[in-house]
Symmetry: C2
């Protein structure tokens, strides 16, 4: 039998006592210590050996009362917990903790849709509500409001918003749809943010700016508390939609493309995130790698160009959807985009599909729940994995192009196919998703991925650029970029962490916060 | 000679030493202790004796280095400071501190417009930049971006955003236009939030969601740090604008009006805040009170109705502007609003004025700096003052109406004219501005205002409702409403305050935070 994994610094006796206290708190069925149970919390896309981030156990409370009892026991025995909503944070660690031996605090049993408000357009949900569940509930009620989902729908609605996930609608910056939370501090205190701090509030989800400071953002991408309820704004059903695809032939045209899209995004003519896919990203659809590339190392840019040419595609492909609430407005919006591109980039080919309220929904509208993006995982072979390098870059053509060229060069240098998407988001920035696709048990390849990510962190730090999120493997690296004035911001985070969670029981090391404490 | 005012708990000797240290820090000219200087920081609209919130001195650093030296001295001698940007927070205390005897930390000398970025549409400013200054700078540069200003333009751009001030454009929730700050903690540490924490960042103002927690909101309506720089997003010039006025006759129609406006606001057909003025608010324009009302106490509802009838006005008046970025779109937008009202409230009279890019700007567009709203101050007599009760209410007709009726009844009961505006903001809520207009040296009237405000706090607390900001006089009352789970949120604020500012030097009592510490 394998040695029992215990949390670092915790004696086997204390760990056993903690597990007993957890069982007392949540019932024996919901403290999971068996090998198969523990394995279910491993990262299926681990970058290297999965057990480097193995959990020692998992505990799954069904209520805030049970949660409080779990936290009390964790404080007593100094047990590091790793809270997950659904544990589906694919590509960023899934359910696995930064700290090997931490106990996963699995919130999937807290799964109520507490409210869907059809008057004001908001919902209140618990962490265990997935996008599948949520869509089903909206449909069941015949809601006239729409959900903004991410690329795949297994995950938690709360978890995605907390991790700054994005979707493909005007409400697609999911963290910005948050309005009011209930959180439990490490000491077991429940706090409601915003107007939820008023007994009997009906404004908790109605306005984001309460009397006093605004805490909601503090509980995103952090480990300051466990989020137990969240309010989220929902989008009214549009009158019209359009799906726009723009094909841009020349590899050298990225800067011009970004500069051309910018004013349309800034004034919200384009009122969702746009995605720019590079050539590599375009040739993977429906293809198997060995049909394209038989040599070692990364697919060459030349070869990518050949395949694009065979398929009649340009190097850059832009897609976005438009939402319009005033019937008839879509004609003007599409025409404006066509005119603008005709003037600025006449070589771009634009195609448009349309929808009007009352018509059946189409796949391009991305209103259905989906698992489609997983198709790419085994691109390099099985068992495949993927994770991404996600720098955030100002929507300025020459800067975006410089980061793109850097990433492409480094990917090729480290033997990885340069699979890159860029998401134009919020009008003023692009988030890169430079996807490292690897074979998990190819030690050389996973080592190359780790080295590549760390090299890229150094590269972009020199340009003044950071990332929007990261795999658990790289959280310290990503945090380390924030060095202004002697790392003043990371230190501030650590100070708040030490105050709120002196025993470091909540997700030590998440986003690099509180990870180096005893 | 009057006794020298010293901060509470500080000996005259320590105070003298602190002032000497302040002079060392900022130069002797910028430590202000004379009677006229101190008087300039009194609240010109004080609700009762102005010296109840008198400052003992003021100190005005010109740079972050000077500011750090001031904070060091304040920590050494335990001097409470009251940071103000321009000190023009009219109706909420202006420059006067909550705590009598605090030293005003006047940031008006830190007044650089550090950047106006014409590519990405943002600005970086210091606290001492007023809306007047900022508009002038935008005009000087021929910027193609527009400012979103508040009702009057004396104040600080930063100060207004920090206090959750609002304007009349699609960027009118000014706190939501904040993207990145530089703040100085009480211990003198400078911190840059968001991507500003990366050396050489060009993304500081490009994206609000950094790697890790989002601090910006924490430095609004709080006293956790001194904001020394702020990034703010600017609005692209629209292609078209419209100014819409809607007259609704019946006093009983408020609920229906709010419910009729809600879907148009929720889907951003109306893409700015709308203002609903009640009858009282409409009859003050261009009038003198004694012409309307010669009896004692508040103007009766009957009399308000008579004056409205004489002027041919309904009880409710709605105004808002529409912004459109796609030429031609305004026709559709206006037509949609007209059709919707024709179906839901045919008795409403709608009038519309229009503007297109290239035409001269008009006053209704509110793009000019202004002091106009001050005209109302002496309504009850001179020296007049005003402050408001500002509950935030979900955009649900029956609830808005219940709060309105409550406020009107209480105002009349306390002998004050029920001057009420409601601002439909963010789609899901209205902010009330129920303006108490009083004569400052009428002790009975100011006592009635105080009693009224506190009574209304109790009234709305029973409905689960809080306020969006308050005069310094009422900050503890406004905070006390947040009682959920044993005042968990106010206690969390106090804990963070104690950690960041153990000597309580920064704005003790602001928003009720840290006010009860030694």
């Amino acid at each position: 039998m394998a040695e029992v994994l215990v949390p670092p610094g915790v004696s086997p006796a204390d760990f056993a006592a903690a597990l007993a206290a957890f069982r007392e708190a949540v019932g024996p069925d919901w403290v999971l210590t068996s090998e198969p149970d523990r394995a279910s919390y491993l990262d299926p896309f681990a970058i290297g050996p999965r057990d480097e981030h193995a959990a020692s156990a998992a505990v799954a409370p069904a209520s805030t009362d049970e949660l409080a009892a779990v936290l009390a026991a964790a404080n007593r025995y100094k047990i590091p917990l790793w809270p997950v909503s659904m544990g589906k944070n694919f590509a960023y660690g899934t359910a696995a903790p930064v700290l090997k031996g931490a106990v996963v605090l699995d919130l999937k049993r807290m799964n109520r849709v507490i409210e869907i408000n059809e008057t004001l357009g908001y919902a209140v949900v618990e962490p265990g509500v997935s996008f599948f569940d949520f869509k089903e509930e909206l449909d069941r009620r015949g809601s006239k409001f729409w959900m903004s989902g991410p690329a795949h729908s297994w995950g938690s609605v709360i978890g995605n918003a907390l991790e700054h996930g994005v979707g493909y609608t005007p409400y697609g910056i999911h963290a910005e749809t948050i309005c009011g939370m209930e959180v439990m501090l490490a000491d077991g205190t429940l706090v409601r943010t915003g107007f939820g701090a008023i007994e009997g509030s009906r404004e908790w989800q109605a306005f984001k700016l309460p009397f006093g400071p605004v805490w909601d953002g503090m509980f995103t991408q952090s480990n300051f508390a466990v989020v137990t309820k969240m309010g989220l704004w929902l989008m009214p059903e549009p009158a019209e939609m359009a799906g726009v695809t723009i094909d841009v032939p020349g590899k050298g045209d990225l800067a011009k493309l970004v500069d051309t899209l910018r004013p349309l995004k800034l004034d919200e003519t384009i009122n969702t995130a746009y995605t720019i896919a590079n050539g590599m990203r375009q040739i993977t659809g429906g293809a198997r790698r060995q049909e394209i590339w038989q040599e070692g190392g990364a697919i060459s840019l030349e070869r990518i160009g050949e395949v694009l040419a065979q398929r009649g595609k340009g190097w850059w492909n832009v897609i976005f959807n438009l939402f319009e609430h005033t019937a008839g407005g879509m004609d003007l919006r599409v025409e404006k985009i066509r005119r603008h591109f005709a003037a600025e980039m006449p070589e771009a080919k634009i195609s448009v599909v349309r929808w009007k309220r009352g018509e059946p929904q189409q796949p391009w509208m991305r209103q259905d729940v989906s698992l489609a993006p997983f198709a790419i995982v085994d691109w390099r072979g099985s068992p495949g994995g993927h994770s991404d390098f996600g720098p955030v870059v100002a929507a300025v053509g020459e800067r975006v192009n410089a980061v793109y060229e850097l990433i492409e060069r480094r990917f090729l240098e480290y033997g990885l196919d340069p699979w890159v998407g860029m998401f134009g988001i919020g009008g003023r920035a692009l988030i890169f998703v430079a996807d490292m696709l690897y074979v998990q048990d190819d030690a050389a390849m996973t080592a190359a991925c780790k080295a590549l990510f760390r090299q890229l962190c150094k590269d972009v730090e020199a340009m003044g650029i950071g990332v929007y999120r990261s795999h658990i493997e790289f959280m310290d690296d990503a945090e380390a970029i924030h060095g202004w004035n002697g790392h003043a911001l990371p230190k501030l985070n650590d100070s708040l962490k030490a105050m709120l969670d002196p025993n470091g029981i909540l997700a030590p090391g998440k986003q690099g916060i509180g990870g180096r404490q005893p």
